[in-house]
Structure formats: structure tokens, C-alpha cells
């Protein structure tokens, strides 16, 4: 009894902190806003020096050089940079608050094939971790359930909202499939050797996925059967209204994953991870597969791999002509604020800065299917953008002065900036 009480108090304490910490969402854009003088990084590979950018009612209405007429409130951003909001795909942001506190984890449900599990309804719009994305320019995310084979269905949200419903940008956009692995760790406690061994069940695991595709497809063809929400949730994959995000890293796994999805009639397949995708670029091109490639700040997976393979991997894919964006599904949520620096790393590998930027803006929007409104600074699109003192892809100079989501100017304060100010104030006494 006493224990239960302690737990309840603990939980209440946790939620208490979140509620207090979250910055209040901004109000709807009323007047016109013009940003002048900034270097505009469009997000499609181009750049506009000394730009003028106008947005009204949450939408960009004009963008051009200094001859473009400024309207309404003018933000002088001379010498500064303006970027489209960065987009973080394939993350359980808002589903996990503190990794090691189980009570705060809502990202991984029981079951291997549960596409009907939906991330959106558990998304905590008041997460302190989500809030901490914004001062670095990460303004949108695809919230993906984790674990199992088919983990569930993701939705895309913006990071300044009162609740999940308001946060939603695209509901139930895709299904997340973690492809089986050809290697698995030895069950040493059962007498197998330690370390990775070929997965003897690989074929069986793959068959299960194929069978699930086939059952889902068959389910849609009849009206008389009893309800099966899992099969039903797969419908969008076969009519193209939803995308399949398939997580695979090995060469063979990628080929199997793409082949089986395509053979089963899945219309839109996005590869996530893709550590060895660089070895089979022609294959991926043939099937028109876009790639959410693992972020650059990772270690080589094999002992003999180039030390900088993770650094240059996205570049290899871009150079090969694939549509590529960056993901960091393998890291903790809080790391997602480093998204711009994952892209910056590519510049050291010889990629053009504006191309690197596309990998966290325009390309991501295209892959996620939200490019009609997000990802680039173009007329008609959402005014989801920010101003940085300097180059936002480099740690030293990524310093935001303003940020907007759908034209609403958000607070760049966080739980963390408040603590910073509070203690600097203490020491100034």
C-alpha cells in the first residue's frame, strides 16, 4: 500500500513538471510579416541572398530579392539566415519523455504485427523534449511507434500545439515495418556462442511478413468477414494513400524488403536506415525507392568499414541519384535537436551546403508526402521557418532569433533556457 502511494506520488510529480514547463503555444498569425535582408535557404538546393520573404495567414505570399515589396511587420534580418523548419522523421518524440522511466514510455506496444497501433493519440504535445527541438530549428516531426515487426502507424505533427489534435499535420501517414535481420545474437545462456550468428529463422521471419501482406490484401476484398483491425490498417498501403517505412540496413535485407513489398503490391515504399544501401543504388533506383538514411553521427557497423562511412553514406546515395533525407531513429529522442548538425557533417564530406540542407527540409517533406505545404520556402507553402544568426548547420552559428510554425511566432524558450537564465541570475546577485 505504501509502495503504491509512492509510485502514484512519483507519477504525479513527473506529470507536474511537464505541465509547468511547456511554453504556451503561439496564437494564430494575424498581421502580415516580412523578413528582409536575410540569406534565404530555400530547401530545394537554391539560395537567395539579401532576400525578402512575406507571409500572411500562415502562408508564404512572396519571396524574392530586395525589390520584393515588404508588408506589415518587418523583421530586419540583415546578415542572418532564414530556413524552412527542419523535419525529423521516424521518431517517437512525445511518446517517450524519460528513457529510463518506464511510466513515461508509450512508444512500444506488445505484438509483432500491429499496424492499427496509432502514435498520434499518445503524442504528448506538451513534452519538454519536443519543446527543446525548436531552438535548433527542428519544427516538425513524424511520430513513429517502435518495436516489433510492424510497429504501427505514424502521424506527422508540428511542434507548437495545445494537444495532439491541434498538432497533427498529416494523420496516419505511414506504417513502420522493421525488417528481420540476417544476423542475430547467440543465445549464450542456451549454449550458443556469444556474438552475432546467421539468423536461421530469417526465411521464416520474412515469410511471416509476406503472409501478413497477403492476408491484409485479401481482407480488403470481402465485406462479410469479422473485423480485423490489423489487416484493415494496412489498406492504405495497397491504394497508395499511406507509405510503408521499412527499416533495413544490410544489403540482403534491403533487397528482400523492397522486393517483397513491391511483389505484395505496396505502392509507396520508403527505406529507413539503409546502412548498406550504397551498395545497391541501381536496384533502389529501379524501384524508385526513396531513403530516410541513418544520420551521420553514428559508428561504422562493421569492424573494417571506413571510419567515415556513416559520415558520407547519405552523400553516396545522393550522388547515386536517389531521393534522400536524414533520420535518427536509432538515437534517443533528445538527440533529434542535432538534426541540422547531422546534415552539416555532410559538407565536410564534400556535399554542397544547400544540398545537405535539403536532406532535412525539402527532401524530407517530399518523402513524407507533406511537400505541398512544408519543406521549402516557396509561395503558397506554410510559413514554417526560422531565422538564425548564422549558418544553422554548424554548431557554432546555429543561434535562432525567430521561429514560425504556420506563421505563428513561437517561443524559443524552453525548460532548459529558463534554468539557464535562472541560475545566471543567481550568480549575478
Amino acid at each position: 500500500m505504501k509502495n503504491l502511494k509512492q509510485i502514484l506520488v512519483g507519477v504525479a510529480f513527473l506529470f507536474g513538471i511537464h505541465a509547468i514547463a511547456q511554453q504556451t503555444p503561439a496564437t494564430k498569425q494575424t498581421g502580415t510579416i516580412t523578413i528582409t535582408g536575410a540569406t534565404a535557404h530555400i530547401g530545394n538546393g537554391t539560395i537567395l541572398e539579401n532576400s525578402t520573404l512575406v507571409f500572411e495567414n500562415g502562408k508564404i505570399t512572396a519571396i524574392g530579392n530586395q525589390t520584393t515589396p515588404a508588408k506589415g511587420r518587418i523583421i530586419d534580418a540583415k546578415g542572418k539566415h532564414v530556413y524552412p523548419g527542419f523535419i525529423a522523421p521516424a521518431k517517437p518524440l512525445g511518446l517517450v519523455e524519460v528513457d529510463a522511466v518506464r511510466a513515461s514510455n508509450d512508444d512500444d506496444e506488445i505484438g509483432d504485427f500491429i499496424p492499427n497501433i496509432r502514435s498520434l493519440i499518445a503524442y504528448n504535445a506538451e513534452s519538454k523534449v519536443v519543446e527543446s527541438m525548436r531552438p535548433n530549428g527542428v519544427l516538425l516531426g513524424q511520430i513513429a511507434p517502435q518495436g516489433g515487426r510492424i510497429s504501427g502507424t505514424s502521424s506527422i505533427v508540428q511542434f507548437d500545439a495545445w494537444n495532439w489534435e491541434d498538432a497533427a499535420v498529416k494523420v496516419d501517414d505511414g506504417i513502420h515495418l522493421h525488417w528481420p535481420s540476417t544476423f542475430r545474437r547467440g543465445r549464450w545462456w542456451q549454449g550458443e556462442p556469444r556474438g552475432f550468428l546467421p539468423n536461421k529463422d530469417y526465411t521464416k521471419d520474412v515469410d511471416e511478413v509476406t503472409a501478413f501482406y497477403n492476408n491484409s490484401k485479401a481482407y480488403g476484398k470481402s465485406r462479410t468477414e469479422t473485423k480485423n483491425e490489423a489487416f484493415n490498417a494496412m489498406k492504405g498501403l495497397f491504394d497508395g494513400s499511406q507509405k510503408l517505412y521499412v527499416y533495413a540496413n544490410g544489403e540482403k535485407e534491403i533487397i528482400d524488403a523492397v522486393t517483397s513489398a513491391k511483389e505484395s503490391g505496396v505502392k509507396e515504399v520508403v527505406l529507413v536506415g539503409g546502412y548498406e544501401a550504397y551498395k545497391i543504388i541501381p536496384f533502389l533506383k529501379k524501384y524508385n525507392i526513396s531513403v530516410l538514411v541513418q544520420h551521420t553521427h553514428s559508428l561504422p557497423k562493421k569492424a573494417d568499414d571506413d571510419y567515415d562511412l556513416p559520415y558520407k553514406l547519405p552523400k553516396l546515395l545522393v550522388d547515386g541519384g536517389l531521393l534522400v533525407a536524414l533520420e535518427n531513429s536509432s538515437t534517443s529522442n533528445f538527440q533529434t535537436r542535432n538534426l541540422p548538425f547531422y546534415a552539416g557533417q555532410l559538407v565536410a564530406q564534400g556535399m554542397e551546403k544547400e544540398t545537405a540542407l535539403q536532406l532535412i527540409t525539402g527532401n524530407t517533406a517530399k518523402i513524407l508526402g507533406i511537400d505541398a505545404s512544408y519543406g521549402t520556402l516557396e509561395i503558397g507553402k506554410s510559413a514554417t521557418l526560422f531565422i538564425s544568426e548564422g549558418d544553422a548547420l554548424d554548431m557554432r552559428t546555429n543561434v535562432l532569433t525567430h521561429a514560425f510554425i504556420d506563421g505563428r511566432e513561437l517561443s524559443l524558450e524552453t525548460h532548459q533556457t529558463e534554468l539557464w537564465k535562472r541560475y545566471m541570475e543567481k550568480y549575478s546577485r
Binding site: K302, A303, D304, Y307, N338, A348, L419, Y427
Partner: protein, 985 residues
């Protein structure tokens, strides 16, 4: 009931058969056989180097009576003519579990750890069992004995292979006929040790290799104390250890690194362990040689990987592929370097693999005389039984082999293996050699037949004109049986015949495919010659890929050398008050920075144009867990006695990757499993050097402490170990420091004291000789530890992680402690809720020495970027930001006089960057330690190419091995070892 009766009967029978002189005998008459047996006309290897041709071996009552060319053979001798045959001392295996079952881990039993010992009256740790006597659980294993004798073994040494201290072993002759009274040569043949815990106990400590090492050391210290009569209670473990002090100690180390670790423990206590190696000693032969230890070496050379599936093959590391190619070199390299070693069947799946593996070693150039020594005289000497076994000198046991020729030749047949005068026939020596070519006639047809192979495995080839038939042959007890089949028509002939002692002809019955029985004849047309096989052997010569330093991917083919270098026209980040110097030259000589200035004279130094590039001091990571084989010893709440320096892994590719990120020095910290962790190792990343070569000379001494959730075991299911709260953590420290103080006082007073490694280390802290780097998160605990330290009159050196340091920066300043923190980590556990990326900047603003660390192999290799985050979060200047990964960590580690900045006289540990070093766009182009270029972008490109080519070559060789019918094993993916503070192992 019936079983019991049988058992009694069996025992009784045994007593009768090996009647000892003073045993009465009732079932039969008591009579002795004191006849001699004389083996004449043989080539006798009395020892591997003393060979008698045409000699006689005389034995009686299981012992050698005489051996020589002109010895007197008594009248009552049975003569055995061994003309053309060889006699060798039979082999000795000094390391087996013969007749003593190795316990198996019981499955299940739950996961909750057990901290206290489960025994009473023994040592405080269940894994120390020197009181165990192998003889108590020994049961002679007839079947295993037969398998060993088949390979040539006559005597084996055995013990209970379980635990860290395992007790004594048994030396036993493989004599089936007589009982234990005769065949057990020694029932305390040695003491046995290892680094592996007993599977019979779940006691947590030691949970790591370094813990096992510390435990062994303490065990010896405690035995010493006990021997002096200073312990009031009874400890049967220590008593056994003391009793057995004079007996040879065998240490199962298991690989080259552990060989050296065992040797180091031995050195400390004046014990010369006989070390049971792992087969990879060739990779570190200089260090192995330097141990001056004697070894027992397994020859379980790895099988080739099955690389027929290229996707899977791709996962195998070059290191593992090389091992397959190089490992059979081990015996050769050891013997050529003068290391004394014995061979063993240990680690082989079955003894029958032994001969095949030995042949492989010969193909790799292992000397056959050395091999014979390694199987006879050397093990006899290791076991201290040269007067009884290992040679055929007078008085030794009559343990010998009779062979058709040189014992290690492929075609040689082992006829008999005599053990203690008891004959064991392996292959009949009286059976005629029928190998050769034959004219063979049957059913009106004339065939050509060839019989080849070994006595063990004859091969038959039958041809009619040019058509070959699939055929089989067997030859035992002088009878030959064979068959051959026409594959096209599926018609089979089967035949059998007795072989006469004389003549080159045989004839017998054959059944034709139509069922008709008739007679066949076979006439030898050509004798068997060894030449054919000899030429085959030549084809066997293998290509051996070169060993690199270290012997893994990205190793150097030659160790890189120190150079004198002049960096011309660089932007130099000094990390000193000199600040950032543009268009400046830096001269490096003899591993030191000798001059900084403009237009310096290069002299003999190699000039490097650094125009447009940046030169900085090498990065120092205050908190790393790479390059170690274990990180946490969580078996006790204090593990001050363990040291990471004991478990350095100089082959971790993370070292090379760190170099590629401009890192030159790291502190490898113990993990955070307990409030008092282990001693750190501070190393330079000298890729290619051995473990000792990486460690700093005269290194400052550090120890890891830890606070908070990890030491309370909050995030896993463990509720037993003290402390479970932050309140308990304080009292734990106070308790340990009280004890350390009392210990130190007693020690300094000159009174006798029980040497305690843990207390020694804690006393060093109290005496200001060792510094604490403490894993810490929340402000309360940070403040607490400072207060505890002040109470004991010392200062905490460094708080590492220190994510709430910003809340108590003023108090930290007052205490005089430094901070080493993450740039931006948080949200991974409850206690980092208030961790903020502004932490470093706030602490620096209050005058603390602040470093940015990694605690992570990935982040470590781009610490320059992590330092840059202090500019973004909190607005540190770039110059100050750069110091957080160079001079500041050097200060925290008390190494700032030697490294951490570009200053004349300091170690030449520098990095040349392609761009502004704080920029995400910068790459390390060259990383230099003491004037040696350990990383260079161009060299790296060459290494990649070399790896690619070598992988390709080895994969091809493995494919050929498979095609030849060689055994293969499935591909293995090398585990990416990745330790963080939280890693438990």
C-alpha cells in the same frame, strides 16, 4: 538393488585384477609375472633428440629396465622384433578434464544477483576453491582413454575445470587394465587457476576480468596473512592454498592478453604459472617471450568461414578471417622464439582432431622435433615428473608408441600404444602393408587397381581401361573386403580375401553383379611409394597473410616511426594565453614541440604545408570507455581494488576511429555500477603498441566514483545491494573512508596489518596520491560528496557528467573541483531532467575548469563539434570552447605540463585540421602523438584499399578450402563493443 549388487561385484573384480602386494587374494591364486619384454631392432627415440637405431627396449613390470644397442637381454624375456619400426615415448597431455566432469551452469535460477558467499568456513568468495581436490571427483573414463591412446597419448593431467581457484589435479596413465592404485601417478599434480567464475555459484563478485584479477591478488595476500596465524577463524580454502604452496600452479589464461595478465599476477607473488594459452600468442610474441613463462598451447586452429554467401561473408571481420589463415603459425612462432611449451588437446571437440591439426602446424613450418618435445619431455617437466614419464630412459614408465615410421609423417601408422607396460593395439603391426598397384582379374575382365592411403584409412581405386569405378575397401585382422560399382549401370562387385604374410599376390572370393560367386586374383605390379603424397604436401604450402600492428583491420604493416616535422604557415590554436596564432610555423623534434614562430628553419625536419589549415593540440577525452575489455565491476558496492589498466585492449578499432577524430589521449574510466568504482587508465592512442605501450608513463592516479541512479541500481531489478538511496551513498563513503583511515593509521604505525588492495587505494585518496573523477548528476549529491571529502580533509578532483553542476558552480569553485561534462545530453533518465546544454558555459563563467567529454565511442571521435556546442549554448568564446577538449581536460588529469596545448617543450601531440577545428565542416587530416603520425587521411585511403584486397584474397582462399572439402563454419559478425558508463559486464 540389482545395480548395487553389480557395482559391488565390479569393485571386487577390480581389486582382484590389480592386486597390490599386500592385498590378499582369494578368487584365484596369487602369482606374479616378473618376465621381461624386449623390443628389438627398432629405431628408438629415448628422448626427442636421443635416437638409437637398431636398438632394444627392455621393460619389466610396467617400467623401462634398459634401452640401448648392446644391452643384455635376460633369459626370461619375451622378444618382439620391431625391425623397420619406430618406438617413441607416448604423449602427455598436461591439460584435460579426463575423468572429471566439468560442471554445467544450471539454467534459470532467476536474475537477482547474489552478493554474499554461499559457503561457510571457506574463503569469502565462492569462486575461490583451492580446497577442491580433483581426485575426489575422478572416475577413470575408459572410452575417453581409448580415444586419447589412439592419437598417441599415454598420460594425461586432469582437474575440475570450474572456478577461479580450482584446487589440485590428477596425473593419470591411460592404463585400462590396472586400477587407480597403479595408473594414478600423482593425485596433487598441480594447482589450477583461471579468470572464469564457477558455474556452481551465482555470487556476483567478480563480475569482470579486472575483478577476477583483483580477487586472485587479494587471495594470495590473504593466504599470506592467514599463514602468519593472524586469522582467528577457520578458512579451509586458504589452508588448502597454503598447504599446496610448493606445487606447480597452472593458469588457464585463454588468449595472449590474458597470458600476460596471469603472468603479471604471478610476478607479484613470485609464482611461475604454467600458462594455458589461447593459440594467438604469435600476435604478441615479443611480450609472450618476455614473460619467461612456460606454456601449454591448444591447437584448435579455427575452421574457415563458409563465405559462399557473399552477403553474409561481408559481415566477417578481417581480423577473424586472418585468424583462420594465421593461427596455425602459433606453434612455429613460439618455438622459433624459444618459448617452452607443451601441446594439449584442450579446446578440441574430440582428441581425434589432434593429429590433423598438428599436421596443419607442420604445413606452417612447425619443427617436428619441437613437436615431439612439446608432447613428451616438456609436459613431463612442467608436471615435475621427468623421472617417470616423457622419455624412455631406465626407470621411466613403459609408456611408448610403436609406429611404422617417423611418428609425425602423414603416412605413418600407429601400431601400438603401451601404457605402464600394458599393450594397446591401435592397428595391427603384423598386418601386412598391401598398398601398391595391382593387376586384378575377375569374371574374365582385367582391371587396374591401386591401394593407397594410411593403415587407418586405405583408399582403393579400380579402373577398367580408362573407366573409374566407385570403390570401397576395408582391411582388418588380415582380411580384406572391397567393392566397386559401375556408376552408369549401378552394377556392383563385392569381394573378400585373406592376405598371406608372404608374397605380393592375393586371391579370394568375388560376387559378380549377377550374383555369381567366383574367384579373383590380384598381383602387385608396383610397390607403394611415398613420393606421390610428398608432392601433394608441396601443393599444401599456404599463403600466410602478414601480421599487422595491431593484427586487425587498419593495423600498421610496420610500426610507425617518430619524425621531425615542421608545420608551415598554419593557424595555430595554442590553448595557451598566446591564443590563436595565424600564419605560424610549429617545429616538432624528438617527439616534442620545440619551436613556435614565423619562418622557422626546418633543418632536417620534414615540412608540411599547413596553409589554410589549423593546427591544434590533440583532443583529450576525460571520460572514455573504449579500448578496455571490461568497464564495470559491479559485484561489490566498492571495487577500488580493480584497475582498468589491467584490461586495456590495444586492438579496439575505436582507438583508430578516435585518432581519425583528432583525439590523442583518453582517460578510460571504470563504469558507474557502484559508488566506489575502479582505478582509471590514462592512455595515449598509440595505435599498434601493446597495452603497456599505450599507458602514460608515470601516470597520475585516478579512481572513478559514482552517485545517483546507477549506484542505487534504480533502473534494473535489484533491491539487495546497499545503498538503495542517496542517503545510503553518503554513509557508504563515510564508512569506507573511516576504514581506510584506520587501515592507513595502522599501516603507518608499523604494526602488522592485513594487506588490502581496496584499502590501499582508498588510503591513497586520503593521502592525496589518487584523484577522484566522480560520475554525478544532481546538485544534492554533488554537494554531499564535497562535504564528505572535506570531512576527510581531501578534495574531489573532478565531477564527471556533472549535469547539475551549474546549480552549485559556486560551491564547486569554493571546494576547488573541476568539471567534465556532456555538451547536450539529457532526458535519458529521471536524474537528468534538469540537465541543460548551458551547463558548461555557466560553470566556466564561475571560474571552474570545464572539460567536454564523450562517455561514448561515437561522440569521442568528434569532440571538436561537442566543444563547439558551448559556443551555441551559453556563448563561450571559441578560444575557451577549444580549451574544453584540450588544456582543460589535461588540467583535470594533471597532465597539463605534458599535453593539452601547443607550447614549446610539450609532447608533440597535435592535430592538423582541414578547417576551423570547432566547425562541423572540419576533418582531422593528420593526428600525431609524440612526433609519430598515427592517423593520416592519405594513409587511411591506402589502408582501406589494402583491407579490401586482403579480404578478397582470404575469402577466395576460404572458398577454395570449402571446395577442397575442408570444414567450414558459418559466418560470424564481429560485435561492435560499445561501452558506456551504464554498461554492466
Amino acid at each position: 538393488m540389482r545395480k548395487a549388487v553389480l557395482f559391488i561385484f565390479f569393485c571386487f573384480g577390480m581389486f582382484v585384477s590389480n592386486a597390490q602386494e599386500y592385498f590378499p587374494k582369494n578368487e584365484g591364486l596369487k602369482e606374479d609375472n616378473n618376465n621381461y619384454t624386449a623390443f628389438t631392432n627398432a629405431t628408438i627415440y629415448v628422448t626427442p633428440t636421443q635416437v638409437i637405431t637398431n636398438g632394444t627396449l627392455l621393460i619389466q613390470n610396467g617400467k623401462v629396465v634398459n634401452v640401448g644397442t648392446s644391452i643384455t637381454i635376460p633369459q626370461n624375456a619375451v622378444h618382439i622384433n620391431l625391425e623397420g619400426k619406430h618406438i617413441y615415448p607416448s604423449f602427455i597431455d598436461p591439460y584435460t578434464n579426463f575423468g572429471i566432469e566439468t560442471p554445467k551452469r544450471k539454467p534459470g535460477q532467476g536474475r537477482s544477483p547474489q552478493y554474499e558467499a554461499s559457503r561457510d568456513g571457506f574463503y569469502w568468495n565462492d569462486h575461490i576453491m583451492p580446497e577442491q581436490n580433483g581426485i575426489d571427483s575422478f572416475t577413470y573414463a575408459k572410452k575417453d582413454a581409448e580415444a586419447l591412446r589412439k592419437v598417441g597419448f599415454g598420460v594425461v593431467n586432469t582437474h575440475l575445470m570450474d572456478g577461479i581457484a580450482r584446487g589440485t589435479g590428477v596425473l593419470v596413465a591411460l592404463n585400462d587394465e590396472n586400477g587407480d592404485a597403479e595408473r594414478i601417478i600423482e593425485d596433487a599434480s598441480g594447482q589450477y587457476f583461471s579468470f572464469s567464475k564457477s558455474v556452481k555459484s551465482k555470487q556476483s563478485y567478480p563480475g569482470s576480468l579486472m575483478g577476477a584479477m583483483a580477487l586472485l591478488r587479494q587471495m594470495y595476500y590473504d593466504a599470506d596473512w592467514y599463514a602468519k596465524g593472524k586469522v582467528a577463524t577457520k578458512d579451509r580454502s586458504l589452508e588448502a592454498l597454503i598447504t599446496n604452496k610448493g606445487i606447480t600452479s597452472f593458469f588457464e589464461a585463454g588468449d595472449k592478453g590474458n597470458d600476460l595478465r596471469a603472468d603479471k599476477i604471478g610476478d607479484l607473488f613470485n609464482i611461475n604459472y604454467v600458462i594455458v594459452g589461447g593459440g594467438d600468442e604469435y600476435e604478441a610474441i615479443e611480450s609472450i617471450k618476455a614473460t619467461n613463462a612456460k606454456y601449454i598451447i591448444p591447437i584448435n586452429f579455427p575452421e574457415a568461414y563458409d563465405v559462399s554467401n557473399p552477403y553474409l561473408a561481408d559481415y566477417i571481420s578481417l581480423e577473424d578471417m586472418r585468424t583462420w589463415n594465421q593461427a596455425p603459425l602459433n606453434p612455429k612462432v613460439l618455438s622459433e622464439n624459444g618459448v617452452t611449451f607443451s601441446l594439449t588437446t584442450h579446446d578440441l571437440k574430440k582428441p581425434s582432431e589432434f593429429s590433423e591439426q598438428l599436421q596443419k602446424a607442420f604445413t606452417y613450418g612447425f619443427d617436428k622435433t619441437k613437436a615431439l618435445e612439446a608432447l613428451t619431455t616438456v609436459p613431463a617437466e612442467l608436471l615435475g615428473k621427468s623421472d617417470k614419464i616423457g622419455s624412455l630412459q631406465t626407470g621411466r614408465y613403459a609408456n611408448f608408441l610403436i609406429t611404422s615410421g617417423p611418428v609425425f609423417d602423414k603416412e605413418t601408422t600407429l601400431y601400438e600404444n603401451w601404457v605402464q607396460g600394458v599393450k594397446n593395439v591401435i592397428h595391427s603391426k603384423d598386418q601386412k602393408d598391401i598398398r601398391g598397384e595391382y593387376a586384378f582379374a575377375a569374371g574374365g575382365k582385367k582391371y587396374d587397381a591401386t591401394i593407397s592411403g594410411t593403415a587407418d584409412k586405405l583408399k582403393l581405386e579400380v579402373k577398367l581401361d580408362s573407366v573409374k569405378y566407385a570403390s570401397k575397401i576395408e582391411y582388418t585382422e588380415n582380411w580384406i573386403t572391397f567393392s566397386f560399382t559401375d556408376e552408369a549401370s549401378k552394377e556392383t562387385h563385392t569381394a573378400t580375401a585373406i592376405i598371406q604374410k608372404e608374397g605380393t599376390y592375393f586371391s579370394g572370393k568375388i560376387i559378380l553383379p549377377n550374383g555369381v560367386e567366383t574367384t579373383f586374383t590380384a598381383t602387385r605390379t608396383k610397390d607403394f611409394s611415398e613420393e606421390d603424397t610428398a608432392s601433394e604436401e608441396k601443393n599444401d604450402t599456404v599463403e600466410i597473410v602478414p601480421i599487422t600492428y595491431p593484427n586487425v583491420g587498419y593495423g600498421f604493416s610496420e610500426k610507425p616511426k617518430q619524425q621531425d616535422l615542421l608545420f608551415r604557415n598554419a593557424t595555430v590554436w595554442t590553448s595557451e594565453t598566446a591564443g590563436i596564432l595565424t600564419e605560424t610555423d610549429v617545429l616538432i623534434k624528438n617527439g616534442k614541440i620545440t619551436k613556435i614562430g614565423k619562418n622557422l628553419n626546418a633543418g632536417s625536419a620534414k615540412m608540411i604545408d599547413a596553409t589554410g589549415k589549423h593546427l591544434t593540440a590533440g583532443i583529450i577525452d576525460e571520460h572514455s570507455h573504449i579500448a578496455a575489455l571490461s568497464i564495470n565491476e559491479g559485484g561489490h558496492n566498492s571495487s577500488a581494488e580493480v584497475s582498468i589498466a589491467d584490461v586495456i585492449d590495444p586492438e579496439d578499432v575505436a582507438i583508430y576511429r578516435d585518432l581519425a577524430g583528432g583525439v590523442t589521449s583518453i582517460q578510460i574510466l571504470h563504469g558507474s555500477a557502484n559508488p566506489i568504482g575502479g582505478q582509471s587508465a590514462i592512455i595515449k592512442l598509440k595505435w599498434g603498441e601493446n597495452a603497456d605501450g599505450l599507458l602514460y608513463s608515470e601516470s597520475p592516479k585516478f579512481i572513478k566514483f559514482a552517485l545517483g541512479e546507477n549506484v542505487k541500481q534504480s533502473n534494473w531489478q535489484s533491491f539487495k545491494r546497499f545503498p538503495q538511496t542517496r542517503m545510503g551513498v553518503e554513509q557508504l563513503y563515510i564508512n569506507y573512508f573511516n576504514r581506510a583511515k584506520e587501515y592507513d593509521t595502522k599501516k603507518k604505525s608499523g604494526q602488522p596489518f592485513r594487506y588490502d588492495e581496496e584499502m590501499e587505494v582508498l588510503a591513497q585518496i586520503l593521502n592525496g596520491e589518487r584523484f577522484i573523477s566522480c560520475h554525478s548528476y544532481v546538485q544534492s549529491e554533488i554537494n554531499m560528496l564535497m562535504k564528505v571529502a572535506e570531512k576527510f580533509n581531501f578534495r574531489v578532483n573532478t565531477f564527471t557528467h556533472i549535469l547539475e553542476g551549474y546549480k552549485v558552480a559556486d560551491k564547486m569553485k569554493e571546494h576547488g573541483v573541476g568539471a567534465s561534462t556532456f555538451s547536450d545530453w539529457w532526458a535519458y533518465k529521471f536524474e537528468v531532467n534538469d540537465a541543460i546544454p548551458y551547463n558548461a558555459a555557466i560553470m566556466a563563467s564561475q571560474g571552474l575548469t570545464v572539460a567536454i567529454n564523450s562517455d561514448d565511442a561515437e561522440m569521442s571521435r568528434r569532440l571538436n563539434q561537442e566543444a563547439a556546442k558551448t559556443v551555441k549554448y551559453g556563448g563561450m568564446t571559441e578560444e575557451e570552447a577549444w580549451k574544453t577538449v584540450t588544456i582543460n581536460p589535461a588540467k583535470l588529469l594533471h597532465l597539463d605540463k605534458r599535453v593539452g596545448s601547443i607550447k614549446e617543450g610539450k609532447d608533440a601531440d597535435v592535430v592538423l585540421w582541414t578547417d576551423h577545428p570547432l566547425s562541423v565542416y572540419a576533418k582531422a587530416e593528420k593526428t600525431i602523438i609524440e612526433g609519430v603520425v598515427y592517423f593520416d587521411l592519405q594513409q587511411d585511403a591506402q589502408k582501406r584499399m589494402a583491407i579490401h584486397l586482403e579480404r578478397n584474397k582470404l575469402q577466395k582462399m576460404m572458398l577454395q578450402e570449402k571446395e577442397k572439402g575442408g570444414k567450414t563454419k558459418p559466418p560470424k559478425r564481429k560485435e561492435n563493443k560499445h561501452f558506456e558508463c551504464e554498461t554492466l559486464n
